[in-house]
Symmetry: C2
């Protein structure tokens, strides 16, 4: 099946006989995007891994799109200019959308500091299938960890435009899940993953 | 886990606890890329759909990356210049690689006329996981179908650089599967899909 779209470049759209619903039924889950945003060092990759592990132990198929890792592949021709950052996030959003359409629980882990970029990704999916997780850790905590040594470089001026130091992080206003310290204590990776899994469970994503 | 790579831009690589082998075990199949190449009108989308259907009926999770469809999303900022065509195929290759890593049988359907672009995608994966399917239909047959009306436009000069008309198609020399007419008769969609499924079966992709 094919339809011409209102597009001057003669690109057609092909509908395929097997759709998202059928794939979901096959693997008994619902495809969606879990979008983890937060400062460098806030624990995004840690949460992504922990969540991936927990979902796998429940027999669910998930896949992590890590912003850093993708810069070695799909996004290796992008730098850190504002336009390139936006394009970086756009591509990850498009790929995450494909994974969700394939039926997977796609875990995207990127600083994604600007609301407009995150909202553009949300707009690619239906609201219900885009689950924004804000890892709301204080800058001092993230900088204190500095596991990659990047804050040090940013403070000394060796990296410019570093989120939280000399470039803004715009916190989500309407995220689905917010993960924070409690009484000054950071949640464990298991706690964080548990919070997301509960959300997925309650909202029906863990069954077709 | 994290390692600094020999990269001046401070991008790290995160290893995740759940790997390809575990995902494959979960869904009892082996992730790979089935790359369908051929002229416009050779039947790539038809084969992709038919193959997707046949795999689904066997309980296998597959997903189609259609070159035309992706030009409405991930690749919508690309045109048809030689550089843009190469980038178009590179991105599809990178995404196909992610799907294969996720454990899916990823069916990529693109004209992909140049050997070097296809070979670059092959090089992203191991040889064994890149299955190149050459839909070797004569130009007259493809042009005779002209289901999108594109050959007509190309012949009249309204589209420039059209593969097979005024831009070359470089046939694969070492593809894993070649699909052709027999005694002047085109194989049915089922026959074509069957040929690919047999290959996948014999080579162990349909079990973990």
């Amino acid at each position: 099946m094919m339809s011409a779209m209102g597009n001057p470049t003669n690109i057609f759209w092909h509908e395929c006989a097997v759709g998202k619903a059928e794939r979901q039924k096959l693997i008994n889950q619902q495809g969606c995007v879990v979008w983890i945003t937060g400062l460098s060092g806030s624990g995004k990759s840690t949460l992504a891994c922990s969540l991936n592990r927990e979902l796998h132990s429940r027999g669910k198929l998930s896949y992590v799109l890590d912003g850093d890792n993708l810069r070695h592949g799909l996004n290796k021709n992008l730098g850190f200019s504002p336009e390139d950052r936006t394009e970086n996030i756009r591509r990850v959003g498009e790929v995450a959308k494909l994974f969700a359409d394939a039926g997977l629980i796609c875990i995207a882990s990127l600083i994604s500091p600007y609301s407009k970029d995150r909202d553009a990704c949300r707009a690619m999916l239906t609201d219900a299938n885009f689950i924004e997780v804000f890892l709301n850790m204080p800058l001092e905590v993230c900088e204190g960890r500095d596991s990659k040594g990047l804050y040090k470089l940013a403070r000394s001026g060796k990296i410019k435009g570093f989120t939280g130091i000399d470039d803004p992080y715009e916190p989500p206003l309407n995220c689905e899940i917010k993960i924070e310290q409690e009484n000054g204590v950071c949640p464990t990776p298991c706690d964080m993953a548990g919070q997301v899994v509960s959300y997925l469970d309650v909202n029906g994503f863990l069954h077709a």
